[in-house]
């Protein structure tokens, strides 16, 4: 697999980056997929921001602890609860809003961490070559064959309920190899470019070369990957929570689905079952679309693998 694709020089040339960015943006916005993705994501960001409002209005709108004093079972939409209440009288809308916040948090931080590990390892591996390269790439191979969801499931079941941050970290730890491979390939092609050679001749340290010269050139690719990692992180967290292995102290969409399921409202409270599922699907869709559009701007041929996530 692992590539070896020729690079376009647009990425490597430091001059004209601003033009390139502007042109890229125009290309991006032209693409209906990118536009839809961005608009969808803006909606969810608004939701996440709005999640702070309901608990301020009335303590009964607290997504976790607030219960309506009048209601003690699942009810459909009403004036006080626009999306209805769950089985102990908590407001579904405020849970949904809080869920958006958690989803962003989980998605972005897990993706950021996995990209961080992936980029770092990829650059080191590609730059150092030889033994270090082989070792790191073998480890990458090993981690890559693990079905992340099942691994995190096993860990979570073995070590008791995991906290949300542990879950985020675990997702990140199992999602870096794909990125590091692509970054490594990119680094390999950069390594022998004249401007790197020039830096080496002038006596720049390895660290400086990696961060000053290689890093800026792999950054767009890393950012592209990040959007895809956000998608997979959100899905994994939601699936984990759905199966009952999430962090019970947080109100995530997966958790909401788990509550619907385990309290027996799955097939009788559509107002409770549908919103979280739709939100998970749409939010992951928006990040995915964003990634697709960015990819078309960058170069479709940069990416040959990891298409499925």
């Amino acid at each position: 697999m692992k590539t070896g694709n020729e690079q376009r020089d647009t990425l490597a040339a430091p001059a004209g980056r601003r033009d390139w960015l502007a042109g890229g943006w125009a290309l991006f916005w032209e693409n209906p997929i990118g536009k839809i993705g961005l608009i969808l994501m803006a909606c969810f960001a608004l939701m996440a921001a709005a999640s702070f409002v309901p608990p301020l209005l009335d303590p009964m709108y607290h997504p976790m602890h607030g219960v309506d004093p009048e209601i003690s079972h699942a009810t459909g939409p009403s004036a006080a609860h626009w999306l209805g209440t769950d089985f102990i009288g908590r407001d579904i809308l405020s849970q949904l809003l809080a869920g958006a916040r958690i989803a962003f948090m989980v998605g972005l931080s897990a993706a950021f961490m996995s990209i961080f590990f992936g980029t770092l390892i990829g650059m080191i591996s590609g730059y150092a070559g030889r033994f270090v390269d082989t070792l790191l790439m073998r480890i990458a191979d090993m981690v890559m064959v693990m079905p992340t969801l099942l691994v995190v499931l096993i860990l979570s079941s073995l070590f008791g309920q995991l906290r949300i941050w542990t879950i985020v970290l675990l997702i990140a730890l199992f999602r870096w190899p794909g990125v590091s491979r692509v970054i490594r390939a990119q680094t390999l092609t950069l390594k022998h470019r004249p401007f790197i050679e020039a830096a080496r001749v002038t006596g720049a340290s390895h660290l400086r070369i990696i961060f000053r010269h290689i890093f800026p050139n792999v950054l767009p690719l890393a950012l592209l990957y990040m959007t895809f990692r956000v998608t997979s992180a959100i899905i994994i967290e939601a699936a984990l929570a759905f199966l009952g292995f999430g962090d019970p102290g947080t109100v995530s969409w997966g958790m909401m689905l788990q509550w619907v399921w385990k309290t027996g409202h799955m097939f009788q409270a559509p107002y409770w079952l549908l919103p979280p599922g739709i939100c998970i699907s749409l939010l992951t869709l928006s990040f995915y679309m964003l990634g697709r559009a960015m990819e078309e701007v960058l170069d479709p041929r940069l990416r040959k693998e990891g298409e499925s996530e």
Binding site: I88, S156, L158, F245, P248, Q258, G264
Partner: protein, 570 residues
């Protein structure tokens, strides 16, 4: 190419249509009783089976000597012909057996009973051995008479020991002999695969299609057929039973509404009831349970080593709120370790902590209790003006700040009730400044932490299917059981209690024993090592359009009496 694809698409559609029609057209010529199970049974090896689903199947096959009637008031002879006759020495019992046959037609004899009991003793079979180790000898006097000689008089012999399922010597003799020669006899016995269990019950296993269903047929040799036991005429009147496996209750409920099953053999969440009640063919049974759901404290370390704090927690926990909100009203509050339904042994005059108080009154009461016990706050829950406020900075009587503590609960997918109760209790304790946080964790890890490592502050657990005999009071709180994997998980030590508990085990006179059991409940309610919270009801749903005759008893309708009495409608 395009035409080819169109043809292919058309073919696919046709296939789907044929399948749909075929499913609609399948006429049902037979009328099996169809029952949904929540999970696949683990095993058909009766010694290994400790899960509900295996026991559901095996209870149709292996039968005990005595069993409780649905009214639960008395034990009736089942495989036995009459009540056990105790000899004057008080330790020798004689039991006459009914003329019965195994499902292959061979005779059921006293030798089988003696073999079963000896097997338990020889292999020290977990879960059974503790009820048989005080039996000294078991003899088959003749084909139909067994004699048991005990080491000392035991109150629990009749109710606990003589209710074990009897297996056939023919089926198990060789297995047991081979296992004894192995390095790990018990493991060998447990891992013996049973394909076709040989029993005396109303049904026999025809086929177990792994991962999909079990098929049982009526046992023509069933000893009870046509007999009247416990005032009931026994069948079975059903020719076949199909057990189908549904992974989730949601799908099982759809299956019930669709008519794919006649009964779902597992308690369901109250959330289903409203919807199910709209179906005229579906009937809901809500039955008493013999269970205990409680908050347990760790008495081995601060802060819950102080009974005052435990009592304060007891006042803060609003049991009625949990029952109304979390159980949706399908349950009742518990104040004793014994369920109130166990009328003979239940002590009705116990302290009802916090009963009838509202939130604010509870906080005030706790403020009083804790202040008297020497606790201090930087910001007390009740200010000088007498107003309730958020508390902070709780200090123990020795002046140290109370460390954050955790309440362990099973995860929500295992039991949403306990997980949510944990969250509620966390909030209530915090109102008095007790820095509690609920932490659901996987069931295995939770038990390991509580039972084996004793590393916890508090936990919420439950026991289901507690025996009617209250001997478990002793097992839960006698200091002898405070050790690794012992059932005294709180680490409760009270010499006075131990003494009474030991006496209760051996007192044969019912009234005298009742007084001891009363006293034990009183001590526990005073010291609160466990805070009993709620007793949920068993909610089960059945279809009424094909079969009738479900017998409701303690723990629900899934019992042998139902299966012996059910008959097809029309």
């Amino acid at each position: 190419m395009t035409v080819g694809n169109r043809t292919r698409a058309a073919l696919l559609l046709l296939c789907a249509a044929v399948l749909a029609c075929a499913s609609a057209a399948w006429a049902k010529s037979r009328h099996p009783l169809r029952i949904g199970l929540g999970e696949e049974p683990r095993t058909l090896n009766v010694w290994m089976a400790s899960d509900a689903n295996s026991n559901n199947i095996l209870s149709q096959i292996y039968q005990p000597l005595y069993r409780h009637t649905p009214e639960e008031t008395e034990m009736v002879p089942w495989l036995a012909a009459g009540p056990p006759e105790m000899e004057a020495d008080g330790v020798t019992y004689q039991v006459r057996l009914r003329p019965a046959r195994w499902s292959d037609g061979s005779a059921f004899t006293a030798a089988d009973v003696a073999f079963t009991c000896r097997l338990i003793k020889e292999f020290k079979i977990p879960r059974h051995y503790s009820r048989w180790k005080f039996v000294d000898r078991i003899e088959a006097v003749d084909d139909r008479t067994v004699r048991f000689v005990l080491k000392e008089p035991m109150a629990i012999f009749l109710t606990r020991s003589l209710t074990i399922p009897i297996v056939s010597e023919k089926e198990w003799r060789e297995v047991a002999d081979a296992a004894k020669k192995q390095k790990k006899p018990l493991a060998t016995l447990f891992n013996h695969t049973v394909e076709r269990p040989l029993g005396t019950g109303p049904f026999v296993l025809e086929k177990w299609h792994k991962g999909a269903f079990l098929h049982m047929k009526k046992n023509d040799w069933f000893f009870g057929q046509g007999l009247r036991i416990g005032g009931r005429l026994l069948g079975p009147f059903v020719g076949e039973i199909l057990f189908k496996i549904y992974g989730t209750s949601d799908v099982a409920m759809l299956a019930l509404k669709k008519g794919a099953i006649d009964m779902y053999w597992q308690g369901i969440q109250p959330g289903y009831i409203e919807n199910l009640e709209q179906h005229p063919e579906i009937r809901i049974f809500s039955s008493e349970r013999s269970a205990l759901y409680y908050l347990g404290f760790n008495l081995r370390r601060p802060p819950f080593d102080d009974p005052a704090l435990r009592r304060a927690a007891a006042v803060l926990v609003d049991k009625s709120f949990i029952i109304e909100r979390v159980l949706q009203g399908y349950g009742s509050r518990m104040d004793s370790i014994l369920p109130a339904g166990n009328e003979f042994w239940y002590n009705p005059n116990l302290t009802e902590y916090g009963e009838g108080l509202n939130r604010e009154q509870r906080i005030r009461a706790v403020h009083r209790i804790l202040k008297e016990a020497g606790y201090r706050w930087t910001r007390p829950p009740v200010d000088d003006a007498g107003k309730v406020q958020p508390a902070a900075g709780l200090r123990l009587p020795d002046g140290s700040l109370m460390e954050p503590l955790t309440i362990l609960t099973p995860p929500a997918d295992y039991d949403p009730h306990r997980a949510i109760s944990g969250l509620l209790i966390q909030q209530w304790l915090r109102q008095a400044g007790i820095p509690a946080s609920a932490r659901p964790m996987s069931f295995g890890a939770l038990l390991q932490q509580v039972k084996a490592r004793h590393d916890f502050d508090a936990f919420i657990l439950g026991y289901g299917r507690l025996s009617l005999d209250p001997d478990y009071l002793r097992i839960f709180f006698h200091s002898e059981f405070d050790r690794e994997r012992g059932w005294n998980m709180s680490g409760y030590h009270n010499p006075e209690f131990d003494q009474i508990a030991e006496a209760s085990e051996k007192t044969m006179d019912l009234e005298a024993r009742r007084l001891l059991i009363y006293k034990m409940q009183e001590i526990i309610a005073r010291d609160v090592p466990y805070l009993p919270i709620y007793l949920p009801r068993e909610i089960e749903a059945v279809r009424t359009d094909r079969f009738a005759g479900w017998v409701q008893m303690l723990e629900g309708i899934g019992n042998i009496w139902s299966f012996c009495q059910l008959s097809p409608v029309n």
